[in-house]
Each structure stands twice: as structure tokens, then as C-alpha cells.
Symmetry: D3
Subunit: 319 residues, 6 copies
């Protein structure tokens, strides 16, 4: 029989308690992380080209995540008849990387440090942005790890090489990743409409091994086919820009683009990926709470992350 | 020829006038209700487990309903080539049940009283929540009525028996209903993702005669099949938790859950139900206006209720 | 190689600079418009029957349009492998028509004047409302032009003849247009649910040559069929009421109606129309920013207009 | 002993019940008004020169007024040791004047009709705007009444004669009033900063008998002196533009102006006026709820109106 | 020289890091509190009579408190030339009391438990509401402590004895406190306008030893006099209802009332009190973030609490 | 007689037209500025330590400024019986400085360039931030100008020298200015409560010639005395951080601090300064529209700037 938290002690309703990620413990001592999953906030947003505000993304996702924290013994999903994230999966909240205003380099370095600590502890790093430029230090932190494939969910290609000297803004991360020798390829899904990447960027991406699919192309082929486009069995890092989703459910972001993914498309894609590949790192970026008056976007981010983690560890036998 | 209200007297634009439900008359004398439909507000929200604010749901739905009140002789729908809610259908607004702060029992008792008065008058009771716990006194009020089947549109199963002594919160109503001998069965549609009901709740629900279908299961089978899952011809009470709908159209609610119904799925289901079954009562709950900055959720609630009433009375010959 | 604006001078990020339409030049001298496209604001909203506020629609659309202005040499769309709106397409922002509070006639006359000036200059007039009544002076301005077919994207039929003396409110424009001898027919797509047009209005519309299709009828037939319902090759004026779209993506409007179009349905319809017909004028109306807290609606309006213009001029050889 | 409403029947908390003004009865039969006070909504806002939205002012003030409705036997004020608005003062809510979109003349005429009905019934008319142009029909309705002095609380002089043909917008009412032979003089308090009235307007106002005082002039002289500037004992009509108050407490209005009145300045002025003069009519205008996210402005409007009514009838012996 | 936190390790900008109160450590083990100050959240709001939402008050105040957390060695105030809250003052965040939906008694009991734990640890209890009813269990928790005087900052008297059976709602706490033999008297400052307390309540309060002063009475006498109205040298518990402040700075609350305190009035009063009396407990209640769109109210709450704590410990020699 | 713009051509209501500063002409050719006043946007906000969003300050101030643009022949102020900003004062809107995301140095250099162009043209530069770090390039641009005194209106001292390498964030500008040999002294008014400047910063400021006055000190001495604290007759640059004002009127800013200035305090101070000193440059910073839901803060910024410019040129004989 289940051993629900609320049976022993507190009822712990979602609106009660300090907002850490999933109401998990904080571990500020990064040299002593003992966890399967280490969640890190990266509240950096100087890389944005339209609206700022993603610096408050981590706090917003933490608060939204409490809605899914009922003190049950794991999260039962009746559609899958599965209990996800049982107590055997240990998640800790590392707090945030230190951000230095006006200084992109130092801020990125501090994010990289956090991810390296998580990796050193053997935990799956989950980074909550911040703008998409925080993916750059995340990928940098894997320089001593085994190679992996990069899967991106996004409205924008983010493949600008350099412009006016900028190489580490939120329009550049996929280009920076593609340059790494330990990134074996890219799947860029959800890409649509105009953005900071011009035609040359698309050409460069394809030349450097990217598989670019729009929402309509994704939809036309179906989720199953899209999962199969990712090389089977390889290690995969997943970067989710919340603007890959449709503005109807993810309005709270800096550069929204109509015509995005609905919830189940991404959910089912991630569920399939978790079964078929080894997930080595995750970031979810561009949640900007000031444009998210109803909280819908942060709720989506929390719901996606918690479910994705559930799928990953379920595939690893935590049930 | 049609006898439009604006031809005789006032133009009565939607933004003009006091916000009663559908701009219908108020009847505060509950012992003299003379109506086909009696609409009651149940502004109770102490039963919520995350965001509060559903206490202002009735006022918000009333105001939103004025958008659909143009003083026409009924509401013409060109898709159905039908005129719904002609003047022959008499709707009254009963105002709100009296709510006693800090006191769930008394508040629920007052809601029950209102529904009993509507039933005594031979009117179809339509209750606007408030949180989903208000369904408990609604169902209680039917104790002297003939048995009926319960149809629920919701993201959450709401089938918790008891926890920390709580038996009448917004996570308990379907369990409470299932215990009634005059509730012959439950159809619970739209159920998805994690909620206050744990695995045991799902097992209990199924054991007590519930048919649980997720949004994706509903979608895969199609509306027609879903209507047929409800026993044919039986009396049906319909409880609609607005969070059964997708947060893209119903963000203004306490515990939103991504991946919900789109408008037409529920509309067509209710239209089919109205033709195939006798509707004996309706509640629509969990509209929380403070999280509904654009008014979209309240508009949805009003649009669903007015259309559903139209379908019901059209099926009864009011055309 | 592309000649991107940012290579020569400024980076000109979307959040930088004064908000004109697409960051194009202002031309206040309407007698010297030298442009392919002349964009005019029509900030009039006394014609609304529910929420006001569309007077700030033009400013909101202008600001939202800056998100799509990255200083590239045209907008590259990877799905179509096409570069839209290259520098050869000259767009100017005419500013707004002068609006006289309390006076519908004068305000409408000033809008008509602006459209006539655009037509006289040989530019494609694009009018940003304002409420849908601004379509009336837009159509009036074509009195000396060759006949055209009118295509409307809208939730509401807007076919009221007269009520309480009102003939030029936002419920009347399609009736007014149908009365013109130079309007050869109407395609009214997206029409659904109750509105100010009663049953007689639908009958009159059909009698006067209108093809009325709901969202579900549009969806059931498919975009391709819908394009074919519009007479082939004829000149077409397109009026887009933003409430034709679903409230999930277009909540910021005066009279929202659930069950509307998703983005791609309208986009693909307009793309097809641009290939098959000559577009002689465009208006996009009813964006009410005060109900658009996330900016989603204005973003949609800007995205639709910019893409539609791209399709039109691409079809004319600007690539 | 007090005979509180909640002792006999319902507790009737502020959030419970349909939102009429002060939760008083509706009287839609204007030929049978039996009341000391008749409250009329005038949801007209085509007269505005900046933000619209005052059309929803009446509904917002009604809802806010419920906060002050606890079902007590009158409202006890411990500072005055007085019980205001005991049951002997009968207030009814007339609902709204009929507004005809696009048509200022008809809309104004309908407002005038409502005020005339209130006057005919011997009730004190209290009109909730709507923009300040609704004061024009209010004053017109007094054409058969005895002369009175007009007291205005406002940021703007509203003394434009005519511009581009406009004579009945929200910049014109005080000029229109000053032209009446039954308006014996004007006290215009709170006037500050730039507005639609130019220098000539100020000169004309003074020439036509107006006493213009800014907020700082009011403050420097003190409330007592300001009351004494109003002719003693004469009949007084009071028009309150909510923008007379400071934007810190009244942000929800169309043309806010910094440096306005604080609450007690106006309250004490009205209290003194109620003792010293006979109040023959009241309007309170320009509450625009869409700009009033916290509800502060509507709360202020309700609090001012209810207190002012209390002062008036207390002075008449209702205690 | 100062030993600023940012010199050794992280810059720790206000927007960085998990939102605990003042970014202090969490101590979930209430039997091992080692602190001078123990901050407890009491997210209970079933006691409200108008707007709900104060359940999210603790989280909002925690987040707002981060704005004042720059990692300095204490907070330097140039006006006082004093450094408040140096590292020698140890503050811990206890998290929240467990709240049981629908059940006021159990929820209140859990709040009482938390306060008792803080007292047992010798820490100053600081409770963040929740609605004002949470003061009832706070005061109950002092039953074994030495007597004290109660100072209330509030718009409302909150002195209802019982109504419809309710004795523990947010209109009752001061009456409940006055009944305690260990509460030696009450100072109720800021009381104004109509509320749930009727005339009899005021009479009862005075009879039971209350000193009631309105904002205007407070202002007329001056802060110094008001401090002197509190018995000198006695132990004092301070309960601050955020609606004691003016809606201009504290709009985010359930029952706002115009004409409230400005910031410095309360600040200087608390500063004087801290010097003249021993503060034994504090609660700050009724912050409702959903009505606090700009965050102004939560910022005020955090600023008041942090300054008040600074004053208290400065008076005790922590400088 | 006055030559009002609306007499000749358009009525040009505030809500009509593209939002440039004061509806003045745009001059994008910075080498051909012909104006008395050159207004430049500096949409940079990477220097913020709490909330971002000031990048949209320039657009928001521009839009708000249209409320004060009625097409009159100057702005008549009845309190001063003066007409400010007659047509003889030529104002142009330069648009925005080019901002390079992630790069503080380049962005600041572009702002400096704009100010240098304005100075070269002999125009008074008026810079709209952006965060307060934009003051750094503004002051840098004066390196070839004659010395001046710096007057700051602000809640925060902004006198941090360096921390974690940051020397050009929004906590540093006054320190950077004090280091210039052409800045002869500083008046820092409004400073209050905790901020990023620690005790040492205050000591350094005083040592480097700063006169620091809190809001209460300003208030106690009175506006006249405060004006006299600024050296008489010297050239003065004025930097206004909108958070110098109280959050009640300026909530839309990154680091609000309660207890700030009311409108008239700053207005009268600036009016006196304009008479007594030569104003050589102005910046107004930290307006963050996303936290300014009612627009109150942007309205304040526009109202202060337009009035201040009026005072300056009135003192120079433009009347």
C-alpha cells in the first residue's frame, strides 16, 4: 500500500509551504549533492532581444510546481496506469546560479559551475532559465562528458553565429552547441516564422548536422516519427524553450510566436524520447512571469518538467 | 415574425444594465419561483487546495452572460438553423446562497436549501460555483428525487474519501456522490495528470461504478462514442468543472491542468446528451475571476451554460 | 548575399526604436505617399456593443510588429523556403485617421479620406482598427474603384441593417458593404454562436449573395476547399475581425466568442487567397489592448498582417 | 437596539449576492420609483479623448459597493459617532439608461429621461457614469427645477465650447452647464495641469461665473474655506469626476492627472457641503474599470457616494 | 570594517535565489529552532468576508523581502545612521503552518502550534497571514506567557463577538483577544469607515479596555502622542492588518478602505514602540497578492517587517 | 490670439497618432538635429538588480506623453497663469540609442553617442531610460562640456564603486559621475531605506562632495530650502530615477521603495531649479511598464518631463 506523506504528518496542500521545486529540499552545499536530479535556477536575461523578465522564471516555475505536490507517494497517472516519481527518486533544489548584472561572461560561468557540480555528483542536471542563452554554459559544462545529441523544442532556430559582436545572446545557443565536438547532432523541432536567425543561419545549421522541423511538419509526420528522427539509443540533452509551445498556453515569454505546439505533442515526444534514449541533461528556458498573468506558462513549465522527470526515471525502473 | 425585445423598448446592448444571469429577472422569493430554469450562485471557496477566488465566480459569470444578451427573440444559431431559448423558456436568477465564512457545513446547507427550492418549484436548478465542493450540497438536495446518473467534466477525479478529516472539500465531491443510493453511476470525462486523488481513489471510483476517460481517450473515441457511454435515456445531472477545459481558454480557475478539452468537444457532448437524456440538474464550478484577466473563462462558462440550456429546452420543444 | 540592415548600421533589436508599423517610415504627407503598402490606423471604437478599447488597437499592433523586425534583408520562412517582404516592397505608416469624439460621421469620413489617399497613390491600403465599423468607410473609399469580392474572417455576421437608428455600428458593416454595387459578393468565414445579427440578418445576407461558413464548416471542408469557395481570380478585399480567431490566442477584443480559428487555418487561407486572387485592400479590426494583458492578440494581428503582405507581394514576384 | 438584517435572515456577506448599488432593490419601472435616492447607471463613453472604458463604470461601482454592505442597521462611523443610512433612507437602483452605440444624441436623451423620472418621483438622482459628458443630459433634466449652483470635483475644467463641431464630449460639460439660466454659478475644484481646455476656456469660465481652484489652492486654504466659497444655503448639484482624486487612489480612469485630491479632502468637503447646502443631484463619472486592476478606483467611488448620501440624509434627520 | 556577504562568496542579487523570508535559512524542524526571530507563514483565508487570496500572502511577502536582501553586513539606514539587523540577529524561516481546507479549527490549531514552538525556542514569533483570523491562534499560543498589551494597526475594528455562529472569522480576532486574561488592553489604531463591526462592537471594545483611534485622530495627535497612548514599558504584541495602510500603497488586500496610513506614520510608530516597549510577538496579515499587480503591497509588508525587526533588535543592542 | 493646431487641421486627440514623445517629429538623422530639445530613448536594462523591463520605458513614456498633447498652442497652466512650451520651443524625438544585448559597453557607447550628437546640435539632451546605469554614458558624453553640478532624485544612492567587477550597473552611476572632474558636486535627494549602497558608499559620497537628503529631510526643510541647497546659478544636470517618487504613484519600476516623494514636491523643486540654474541635461530612468498596469508611472514620467521642459524654456523667455 502507498505510503503517502500526508498520512504521517502534514496535509501539505499545494498552497502551503515555501516554494522550492516540487517542494523538494534545498541543497546549497553543491559539493555534497546527493540526488538523482539536481535542479538549478539560472535567472539570467540580458540575452533577450525583445521582452526581458525571464530572470524570474526559476521562482515562477518553483511556485507553479507546488500545484503538483500533494504529498502523495508518487504521482499516479491513470492514462498510463503508472506512478511516477516515487520516493526512490531523490530530487534536490540547488537554488540559483549567481548572476552578475551587466556581466554576461561571469553570469554564464556561474551557471556552468552549477551544472558541473550536478554532473560531478552524478545527478541529472535540470536548469530553469533565464533566457535561452543559459543553454550555452549548460552545454559548456558537459565538456568532460561523453558525446550526446541535442534535442531542442523551440519556435526559433537560435543559430546566429555573430552579430555586432554578440555570440552569447539568446539567438546564438544552438550555433554554439553545434560547434562542440561532443555534440553529435541537433534535432530542432517547432521552428517557425521570422526570428533573429536569417536564411544563412538555416543553411549553416543544416550544414552542421541539424534536423529542422516546424510545428506543421512535426504534426504532419506525427509524434512517433519525430521520436524516430532522433538517433536511437544515444545520449540526449534536451533544451526546451517555452516559446516552442503555442502562445495560447505559453504567453508568458519574451518572444512569443503563434502556431506553436500543444501540450500533448511535446509531452508524448518527451515520453517516447525517455524510453528510447538516455537523457543526460535538461534545460527549460524563457518563462517570463510578468507576461504570464494567469500563471499558465509557469504551470506548463512545471507540468512538463515533472512529467518528463517521471518518464525518465520510470524508464529506469523507478515505479 | 420574431418579436425582438429591442423593437418595442430599449436597445439594451450587452454592456448596459445590471448583471444578472442572462439579464433575466431576479427572484429573491424562493418560495415563489415560477420558472423553467432557476439559476443559483454558490460563492463558496473554502474547499480549494490551491488558489481561492471562486467565490466571485457567480458574479463573473453573470457579467459575462450579458455579452450574449442582445434582446433578440431567442438566440439564432446558423449552424443548427435553430433558435434557442425563445421567450417561452423562463429563466430566473435566484441570487446567491448565503455563505457563512469559516463554516463549511452551514454554507453547504444554504446551497442545498436553494437547490431544494428550485426543485420544489419544478425548475431546472443551475448552480454557479464556487469551488467543486458545492456539488456536494447540490447532490444532497436531490435526496427526494428519482435516481440519476452523474456526468462530470473535469480535469480531476475529485474522489478522495477522507484526508486529515476533510470529507467535503473540492477533492471529495464525486466520492460523496457515488455514495448516494440515488446516484446510479458516474461518467468522469476529461480526467488527466496528477491531482489530490491518488491511485486508490481511481480504484475506488471504478469499483463504485465510475467510467473514467481522459481528454485523449475522449478525443480518440470521438464525441459520439462518449455520449453513448452514458446510459441511454436515464436522468442525468451534469457537473462541469471549468478546469476540464484547457487552460488556453479557461485560465481563470484554481487548479488549472494543461491538456484539457477545447470548446466544441464539450459543447457537442452536451448537445448530444441533451437530446438523449433528461437533464435534471447542472452545476458549473471553479471559475475564479481574479485569474481570468481577459474574462475568457467567465465568457466560456456563460457560453456553455446558455448553449446547454438552449439544447435542453430545444429538445423539449421550445424552438 | 543578403544585405541585412544590421550589417551596415545599427543592430536595431525589436525592443529598440519608435513603434511604427514594422518599424517602417512614417509618411504624414498623404498627398505624397510613395509606397506599395500604406498602413493607416483607424482608432475609432464608438461602434462597439460590449467592451470598448479598440481605439488603442493601432498603437498596440504597431508595437507588436516590432517583434518581427530584426533588420534582416526580408523575412525568411524555412517552411516555404521563401524570403518575404524583401526591401523591394516599400511599406509606409500613414499614422492615424483623425477621430472626432462623439461624432461617428466625421470620424468615418476621415478614415475614408485616408484610404482614398492610399488608393490614389497606388498603394495597397491596410487599415488597422478600431472596431469593425471602420470597415464601412474603408469600403466607401472604393466607390471609384473596380468591383471586388469581400472576404470576411469573423465570429459575427455583422449584418444588421438598422436598429434604433444605428446603421454604422460594428454590427452593420457587412450589410453596408453588401449594398454597394461594386461589391460583387461576400465570403463570411468563422461565423458562430449568438451575436447582434438575428435570424433575419442571416437570411438577408444569403439573399444578398453571401457565403456563410462557420469555423466547424471551414474545418470540415478544409482550407483548400474554402479558398475555392471564393470566386477565382477576382479582386478581393479582406476584412479580418480578430475575434474570428479563438479567444485562446485573441482574448484582447471586445466581443470574444469561443470556438474560433487557430492560427494556421487563417494563415493558410490567406496564403492561398494571395496566390489565387488580387488583394485590393485589407483591414484588421477589434484588437483591444486593455484586454490583451500578454500582448498575444496584438502579436497575432501583426504576425497575420506581415505574413499576409509577404504572401501578396511574393505572389507578385517580390522574393 | 439595532435591528440588523443579519439577525433575522441571511448573513449576506459582501461577496454574496447580485451586485446592485449597495445591494439595494432594483426598480425597473421608472414610473413607480418610491425612494429617497434613485441611482442610475449611464454607461456612455464615446465622449472620451484618451482611454475609453467608462461604460463599465456603473457595473464596477455596483460591485465595489457591496464591500460596504454588511446587512447592518445603518453604517456606524465611530469618528462621527453617527449611524448613516439607516433603513429609513430608501435607495433604489434604477439600472442603466439605454445607450445607443454610435449615437451620442439618443444616448444622452435616454440618460436625461432617467434623471427626469427620478426627479418626478421626488428622489435624489445619483448618476454613475460613463464619461463626464453624461453630466450634460443630467443637467438638462433639471430644466424644470429650481435654480442651483454647480460644484465640480475634477482635474480638468471641461469648459471647451466647441471644437471640430464637438459640443457634447467629456471636455464640454461645464461650458454647457454654465449656459443654463438655472445654473447660478460654478465651483470647479481640483483643476490642474494641461487638458483639453485651453487658456480661452479658463477665461470664459471665469467670465461666466466660475470659481476655479486647484488642488494646491484648495489645500492651502483648507477644506473649511473651500466649503465657504460655495454660496451658503443654495441648492447644489455635485458632479464628481473621479480623476479629481489622485492617481494613487483613482488610477482607473481615462485621463489621469497627477497631483490630485486625497480621500479626506473630498470627503470632508462633501460632508460640510451636505450640512450647509441642499444637494439636488449627484453624478460621479469616469471610473474605467479596465484600468483599475486592484479595484481601488471603484471602491473609492462607492465609498464616496455611500458616505456622501449618508451625510446628506443625516443632515435631514435620518440617523 | 564591514564583513559583507558578497565579499566572500556570491553577489546574491535580490532576484537570485529561492524566496525565503529575507533569504534566511529554512528551519523545518520546529523542535530545534535556534534563532532570535522565527518567521511562520499562516496561509489561511477562509475567514474573509470579501475577497479571498491571503493564503498566498506568505509566499508573496517572502518574495518581496528578497528586494531588501543585498548580502550586506546589515542594513544601513542613513537617516538614523544605524545598521540594522547585523549578522548577530539570527532569523529563521519556519515555513508554513499546515492548513486543512474546509476546516478552520484544525488550521487554526496548526498555526497555534507553530507559534508555541517559536515561543518555546525563545524566538520572537513573526506570523505572516493569511487573513486576520490567524491572529486568534497566535494569541491563543501565548496562554502560558506573561501578560501583554495588544497593539493593532488596521482599518477595521474586528470586534464582532458572534454572528450566524461565526466566532473565528477575520471580523472577530480583537474580540477574542480582549477576552483573554493575559491581554491587558488594546490599542486599535487606524480604524475607519464601515466594516463588519457594528456600533455595539465599538461600545463593547471600549468597555473591554480598548483605545480606538482613527487615522485622522492618529494624524491630529501625532506619532509621538500615539506611542504614548500605549502603556509604557509593558510587553506588547503587534498585529498589523495591511489594510490599515492606505489603498494607494496597499491595494492588494481583501477589504481595502480608503483614507489609511501612509508609510512613515506606521514606521515611526513602530520605531518608537520598539524603543519604549518589549515586543513579544508580531503578525502581519491580509496581504492578498492577486490584487497586488505591481507587488506594492507585498513590498510594503516586507519593508515594514524588516524595519520593525531592525528597530527591535537595535533597541536590544544589536547594531 | 492663440494659434491652436486643431483650428487649422486635425483635432488630433491624445489617443490618435503614432506615439512619439509629445507627438513631436522624429529626427533619425542625428547629424542634422535642429531643435531646442532632443529626446533620446535608452532602452537598456541589463544593469538592474531586481526587476528588469525598463527597456520598454521609452516606448511607455512616449505613449503616455500623448495624453498631454491636445494640439493647443502651448500648455496653459492656470495656477501659474502661464503658457508653457509654445511653438517656439522645438522638440524632436531622436528615437532610441542602439542597444546590443549581452553587451553593456557597446550599449552604453551608443547612448553616449546620441547624447553627444544632441549636445553638438546645441539641443538640450533628454534621455529616457532604461535603468539608471544609462546615466553613466550620459555623463560621459559631457566630457567636453563646461563643468556642472549633478542633481539626483532617487530612492537609492547608487554610489557603489565596484562589486564582483561590476562598475557600470544601476547601483554605480553616482559614483561614476562623482569621479569626473567636470562634475562639481552632487545633490542626492529622496534617498531612503536599504539598497545596494552600503554604509561605506554613503561615507564615500559625502567625502566626494555629495549632499544626501532623505524624503523626510526634504519634507522637513521644505522645497525652497532644498532648492537653495543646490549651488546658485551653476549649470545643473538632473537625473530622475522614477523610484524617487512614492510607489503609490510610481509602482512601475524595478526597485520600488516606500516612503517616496509626492508629485508636487518634485515638481516644485524642478520649477525652482529651472529658475535658479541652467539645466544642461536631463535623464529620467527606471520606468518599467510591465509593472505599471494602470500606466500611472509612465504618465508621471511624461508629466514631469513635459512640465520640467516647460519651466526651463519659460525661464528662458519662451512664453
Amino acid at each position: 500500500m502507498a505510503d503517502h506523506g500526508y498520512e504521517a504528518g502534514r496535509l501539505n496542500l499545494p498552497f502551503v509551504g515555501i516554494a522550492t521545486f516540487g517542494k523538494n529540499d534545498i541543497c546549497a552545499d553543491w559539493d555534497n549533492l546527493k540526488a538523482d536530479v539536481a535542479v538549478l535556477g539560472a535567472p539570467f536575461d540580458f540575452g533577450t532581444q525583445f521582452r526581458a523578465g525571464a530572470r524570474f522564471g526559476p521562482r515562477a516555475i518553483r511556485e507553479a510546481s507546488t500545484l503538483f505536490s500533494f504529498g502523495h507517494a508518487g504521482a499516479y497517472d491513470h492514462e498510463d496506469d503508472a506512478t511516477y516519481l516515487p520516493e526512490s527518486v531523490k530530487i534536490v533544489d540547488m537554488g540559483d546560479a549567481d548572476i552578475i548584472h551587466t556581466n554576461t561572461e561571469k553570469s554564464h560561468a556561474n551557471i556552468e559551475l552549477g551544472v558541473r557540480k550536478a554532473l560531478a555528483a552524478g545527478a541529472l542536471p535540470v536548469v530553469m532559465g533565464g533566457d535561452h542563452s543559459v543553454n550555452i554554459p549548460c552545454i559548456n559544462a558537459f565538456s568532460d562528458e561523453k558525446p550526446f545529441h541535442l534535442v531542442q523544442i523551440d519556435a526559433h532556430l537560435d543559430f546566429v553565429d555573430e552579430r555586432h559582436g554578440v555570440r552569447n545572446g539568446h539567438g546564438n545557443p544552438m550555433r554554439r552547441a553545434a560547434e562542440k565536438d561532443y555534440v553529435t547532432g541537433l534535432s530542432q523541432f517547432g521552428i517557425r516564422n521570422v526570428s533573429s536567425t536569417a536564411k544563412e543561419g538555416y543553411e549553416a545549421a543544416r550544414a552542421m548536422g541539424s534536423d529542422i522541423q516546424s510545428v506543421r511538419q512535426f504534426r504532419a509526420q506525427g509524434v512517433k516519427k519525430m521520436i524516430e528522427r532522433v538517433p536511437e539509443g544515444v545520449r540526449v540533452y534536451v533544451t526546451i524553450d517555452i516559446d516552442g509551445f503555442d502562445p495560447s498556453i505559453a504567453p508568458g515569454t519574451g518572444t512569443p510566436s503563434h502556431g506553436g505546439f500543444v501540450y500533448y505533442e511535446v509531452l508524448e515526444f518527451l515520453q517516447g524520447l525517455a524510453k528510447r534514449n538516455t537523457i543526460v541533461g535538461i534545460d527549460l528556458v524563457e518563462v517570463a512571469p510578468e507576461y504570464d498573468h494567469t500563471g499558465s506558462t509557469a504551470t506548463l513549465a512545471a507540468q512538463v518538467l515533472l512529467n518528463f522527470l517521471g518518464f525518465i526515471f520510470h524508464a529506469h525502473g523507478h515505479r
